[in-house]
Subunit: 162 residues, 2 copies
């Protein structure tokens, strides 16, 4: 459960594994794929497992500065690349700003994106996978994933505007 300041809006995320469980899962997956578990990687996994605010690579890096002052941004990108290969992180690509990452829910799911402040949240909106199946049947495409973003002003930025 999570809520916006200055707003009565609340939304729930489906009951999923805890952050700790997610981090452990991701670590196990990397190890299984033959990768080493360094302190840097574990720290990056921890941030991505929480994915609070759907951070960019730079935000992950910034968040770890206190604990790991010498960690380089390249290491963050390299770790994210491994996780992408393993299907353990969802990447939201943008061409006009940093990509954003969700390691807590790596399966495709809808996002609400504030066009003013860049906030990204997970709304509760079930029943989309059916759409993908239907499309596969109708079009001959072998649909394997999807992306659904809604763009608009979040309650906070809405208030600021008026």
């Amino acid at each position: 459960m999570q809520s916006y300041p200055n707003s009565s809006w609340k939304y729930t995320v489906p009951k999923l594994s805890s952050f700790e469980e997610r981090q452990a899962d991701m670590a196990a997956r990397l190890k299984a794929a033959g990768h080493k578990l360094t302190p840097q990687r574990l720290a990056i996994l921890k941030v991505l497992a929480a994915s609070e605010g759907h951070p960019s690579a730079e935000q992950v890096h910034a968040r770890l500065q206190p604990e790991h002052p010498s960690m380089s941004l390249a290491t963050v990108y390299k770790t994210i690349a491994l996780l992408k290969q393993a299907g353990e992180v969802l990447e939201l690509q943008f061409s006009d700003r940093d990509n954003r990452y969700d390691g807590h829910r790596p399966d495709p799911h809808p996002h609400l994106i504030c066009t003013a402040c860049g906030a990204i949240v997970d709304p509760d909106l079930p029943g989309l996978d059916n759409l993908a199946e239907e499309l596969s049947r109708r079009t001959g495409f072998a649909v394997s994933s999807h992306r659904l973003d809604f763009y608009g002003l979040c309650p906070v930025c809405r208030a600021k505007q008026s």
Copy 2:
């Protein structure tokens, strides 16, 4: 109407204005916004009005080489920027490849994207705007647009794989 080679798949796009009408609309919009209608711009509008294959800026440029050998890629980007401002072109952003543009249907609508060859088509899939409205009501976001992409292998690339 349009179809893939080596495939019985067909899809239809909603009945819309013809390419010529779209081009004229876009030109009128630019003029109304105080911009000049140069031969380069008109040529770019023509390609975007058709939007066959949802071209990238580079593809638009390449397609116009024969007629306008001296046209620069920067001019294509600048014209697209004007059209984006005017809401006359839909931009599909990607961070790992060129952005793609649709000037024929500038309103948000679903896309089917082949992860192998990059083909982009418009499937017929009505009833999504309701979703956006519902989300607005539920979340407090002022949802103004959306993006829905389905990723998979198109029939042609599917055949090549097996």
